[in-house]
């Protein structure tokens, strides 16, 4: 009996020990990034971030510099004022918001109405259309980049918000329709029929009944589409171009890598600014976040 208990104890130590080691390894990159972003420029360039244990020395200068506009004044350690060229990440943050909010709301709206029609309305070739929508899940978005880029050039749409919203809508629709259809089609028929008998129009039914009932599915999809669009680089690079006025955070960070490749304090601060919103969502809505990422796991 004693030996089994000792075995369980050893087993427990091994399990907890292994998990703690894995967690430390997993966190080192993020922690190192966070610490470096808070160090003065010279320190970040010349010594490892782990040396802060011996000589802690922190500053928000890197964040000030990446967030500020064209020029910004920072106070160095010696107390003298220094003017450095800012990186204007505030603009990129705003651009990311301008891209992301409609690029989440529009596809969800379009997908929800379509899913409702597929689930509860009668129209010719309904099944065929639905099968086509599902089949489109296999199309990788790279296929669409060349043709759509050329259409946009002809329409003079490249570099506009509308261009990237529509692109994200197109690429996000098959999955959103598929998942929302699965959800909306399971709403009990009685609920809809009694509303219909009460004289509600299809539109009223959709806005007053279907949308509120689908909130769990919509919430998961919202988070998935939000993380997807916010973190997207390829679609933004293709359709927004490299114009700084419309560049989103990921593009900004990428150009920062090119221009300031060894200014680690700036790069790490920039990386943290891009991560800020997804991390807030992650920690405040963790359950929905996980469900959302699961739902989107087959994105094409």
């Amino acid at each position: 009996m004693g030996s089994t208990r000792r075995q369980t104890l050893i087993g427990n130590i091994l399990v907890y020990g292994a998990l703690i080691i894995i967690c430390i390894v997993w966190s080192v990159p993020t922690i190192g990034t966070l610490i470096t972003s808070l160090r003065p420029a010279d320190d970040a360039k010349t010594t490892g971030w782990w040396t802060v244990v011996n000589e802690p020395n922190f500053t928000f200068n890197a964040y000030r510099q990446v967030l500020a506009g064209k020029e910004t004044t920072i106070v160095t350690e010696e107390g003298e004022e220094q003017t450095v060229s800012g990186q204007g990440m505030t603009q990129a943050f705003l651009n990311s918001l301008t891209v992301t909010i409609p690029a989440v709301a529009i596809p969800l709206l379009v997908a929800a109405t379509a899913a409702y029609a597929f689930a509860w309305m009668e129209f010719p070739a309904r099944r065929m259309f639905f099968v086509i929508v599902i089949a489109l899940l296999v199309v990788p978005l790279q296929i669409a980049l060349v043709p759509i880029f050329r259409d946009y050039r002809a329409l003079n749409l490249n570099g506009t918000w509308l261009a990237i919203w529509l692109a994200h809508t197109g690429f996000g629709l098959p999955l959103s329709i598929y998942l929302l259809y699965n959800y909306i089609s399971t709403i009990p028929r009685d609920i809809l029929e009694s509303a219909f008998i009460d004289g509600a129009s299809q539109f009223t039914m959709f806005t007053r009944l279907i949308l509120p009932l689908s909130i769990p599915a919509l919430a998961s999809l919202t988070i998935f589409q939000f993380v997807w669009v916010w973190n997207d680089f390829l679609v933004a690079l293709t359709f927004l171009g490299t114009n700084e006025e419309v560049a989103v955070l990921t593009q900004y960070l990428q150009s920062l890598i090119g221009e300031r490749g060894s200014d680690w304090h700036l790069l790490t601060a920039g990386a943290f600014v891009t991560m800020l919103l997804p991390l807030v969502v992650f920690f405040s809505l963790q359950r929905f976040f996980v469900r959302g990422m699961m739902a989107g796991s087959v994105k094409g």
């Binding site: 296929i143 060349v146 390829l234 990422m293």
Partner: protein, 370 residues
Amino acid sequence: MSEQTEILGRRVGSELLTWLYRIVLSVVVPVVFFIVMRAGFIWLRRGNANQVLIAAVAILWGIGGFAMLYVIANSIVEQLPDEWKSALLPFVFVGPALAILSWYLVMPVVRSLVNSFQDAAAESFVGLDNYVYAFTERVMLEAFRNNVLWLVLGTSVTVALGLLIAVLADRTVGPFETAVKSLIFLPMAISFIGAGVIWRFMYAFRPAGTAQVGVLNAIRVALGGEPVGWLTIAPTNTLLMIVVLIWMQTGFAMVILSAALKGVPQELLEAGRIDGANEVQIFFRIMIPYIQGSIVTVSTSILLLTLKIFDIVWAMTGGQFSTSVIGTVFWRQMFTFRHNGRASAIAMVLLVLVIPVMWYNLQQLEQEAF
């Protein structure tokens, strides 16, 4: 007689009014809407106003515009006679989705297919030249080789690690399990570009003799080695970038597999233990077969990701130093060399590679509830 005429007249009058109302609704409202939206578009494009104001107007313009589109289309169709209404109303709901899908996905497949047989400017047909390029050019062969590395190592290590952590975490107390899972899942929230920066820093290189700032080189130097420019040496650089993918995706594998593991009936495990099976045997003979479906789902999802991998490589090496993947070669052909034909051919190759995996994945998905 005159009374009848009067009634008739009144009826005609009210009918006329109704029609007038309908015409106003179905012509004037859309026209006004179109003019307002167009003005908004031009104002947004000029973009000479406060940044925050522009962002707010753009968001309102985009979402409001789309919502109004449905409201207007619906109210027009609602005015029609019943038989017209029931025939047209479904298309108010499903039409925008079908239109967008055909523009953004259906037509591009056809057009990319056509483009892939044409020259750089998509003007004349060149037969199979672009496909010959896609399958024989040195950089493409390098990309295929690297993609196979990504696919095999990325997928297998991610799933194995995810499974290992799920099994281990399952044996710990609740709060500890939650904390571990949150930590491992957290990188899912980070963009590939952000992760690229984080890991470039991990792999950072400074000349020998100076203090290292990258963790990997610091460890190497501490162990008595010479610092190495990790991202410039093939094939180590590709392997190190696959580590980034593993770091980001293991949490995803872990969460799905952990949920599946919790679904394994306790009686089954007890029965196994009573029959004298040890924990390793229980894991391989009972748990693994039971959660096979979830393992396949996770594997195929990550496999798809590795086939289309682009951002990580773009942020860390830009495809230099023999790290090209299909995604980066595609990008270079499309925007650096502006060769529509080759870019389309590469995209078609990607489509053909993705189809079987995705198809398989969808069949698995059918069986799972959302």
